[in-house]
Amino acid sequence: MKLPKLPLDKWVDHGVAWLQNHLKPLFQGVTAVVQPTVDFFQHLIQWGSPVIIAVLFSLIAFFASNFRVAFFTLFGLLLIDNLGYWEESAETISLVLTAAIISVVVGVPLGILAARSKGVQNVLNPILDFMQTMPAFVYLIPAVFFFTLGAVPGVIASVVFAMPPTIRLTNLGIRQVAPDLIEAAEAFGSTSAQKLFKVQLPLAKPTIMAGVNQTIMLSLSMVVIASMIGAGGLGAVVLQAISRLEVGKGFEGGLSIVIIAIVLDRITQGLGTTKQKAV
């Protein structure tokens, strides 16, 4: 006897439709926050001529990391401008920064909660596994249902895909603080907030920053995929090149993404380690 197929697809469809109908104000609220944030970053990056912005970025890279990274940043960004993808790059960076900020704002507190309670950790862990292993494209469909096309669903899909490392490494960083330091903090009569802000978070900072770095890298990769739902940016360049089989253009777009990835990676890594030294 053959069992009938579980109508899982139907259930999910119904579920999404239900959410669409009943949680509309929530999705509108999210859009009202995300869209202006993306726009803000985009205006910020396009506030001056590409040369000025490239110099500013390389200054940030210099303070966060070192001369070599600053040098790479300057020439990488100037190359992107020369290839003619400045505007698309600005869009991509805005999407990444927005997604990263949301991931940190939501992910760090979740990580803290997970570190403080085994129950929360046990609930979160499978959800995070799910978020990370589900093929990234799948998030695009419900994102479109909830947020239509454009930058907002792209950001949301990126957040879902990119947030787990921040949560996991915040949790790990806090749990890794030596137990005798926690004991010391408690023995002197710290409240739990004091213990968190004066001992656990400062000591977990390098680990948390590693998580934030991973989140930024993942959201960059997701933002490129999100061009399929009209998020725009360099992903759109690559997508267009694929559909028209333009190898050269595809390479240019891909190279620009690589440059941005390296710049963002080195800057955030630098921030993590300089914090560690300063601490």
């Binding site: 030596a178 330091l181 004991e183 408690e186 002197f188 009569g189 710290s190």
Partner: protein, 401 residues
Amino acid sequence: MKKIEVKGLTKVFGRNPQKALELLIEGKTKEEILQQTGMTVGVNQASFSVNAGEVFVIMGLSGSGKSTLVRLLNRLIEPTAGSVLLDGEDITRMNRRQLRTMRRTKMSMVFQRFALFPHKSVRENVEYGLEIQGISKKERQEKALESLELVGLKDYADSRTNQLSGGMQQRVGLARAMANDPDILLMDEAFSALDPLIRKDMQDELIDLQANLNKTIVFITHDLDEALRIGDRIALMKDGVIVQVGTPEEILTNPANSYVERFVEDVNLTKVLTAEAVMKRSEVIIWDKEGPRVALQRMKEKGLSSVMVVDRERNFVGILTAEEARKVKEKEKSLEDAVIKDVVTVQLDTPVSELLPLMAEKQFAHPAVVVDENNKLRGVVVKGSVFAALAGNGVNAHETS
């Protein structure tokens, strides 16, 4: 006066501690309960009291429950049963707020592996206990510096803790614990991670600090030598049970059971050792040549609380304490009156077994003086060195004190 009074304090680790508690009351041992229920007894109905201003040593081998016991005193570990009265107030009944206040003001802790915050400077570490009380930056910096001065690390206030040696790090730990000016210091194997020479220095320093500041100290150790050196009273623990509480002398001379006896059997060297073997070279001043200023200077240099007074022929006259020397210096007393002559005086070949009761009779107030047959001063015997020697650590007769 009783500072801490512990009654029936028990800790069981496991799923159903109440059941284990019943079994404990029935008289079952730690091992039987582990076999029967799978639960671990940390501390089994410990009762003792700690007097104000004494150094109370809890000593036992690893796994005896001593570290658990000290954490029950400040409730870093929640007790399963029993009470801890601090100045008559039951700590086990305090709510979180009261508990925090108690930890902030009355009881500080020093840890085996120092537990200094690596992201803070030495001064910030010492400030921590004050910082979390919301004390202004200026005030807590001052207090931190005072506290660092007590342990001789004022110049390292702005260093990173990982730049300091182990001994220095533990001094910072001690300074941090004292910055709150608590009544009680809990010291969990505080010197066990230090190498032997540094450990000895720290023990001496702790004894000095205790004498000056009059803190009540609960000191955990697995080292009998250390227990005998610094303890006013010692509690011996085995399998979570306090086997015996007593002064070092009582523990050595009158072990409560075979376990304690085995523990201290190597120690009973009192009949073999002579005063000569345990004495130390003494610092002297010469009666009619050097005044109280020289005496004070010498004590300060050597970190001593008293010096021996001799005449030009090195005949022993008496002991001059720092306090009395100061009075002489201020012209409140004559040197003649200030010198304490009523001290235990023994010959070089007096066995320690005879020497100890003599010193005990005087409550170990002053070192015993060792003279030769012509009444010339040869050395002094201090309480610590007697017990160190008895603890089988050997004696270094050439060591200066």
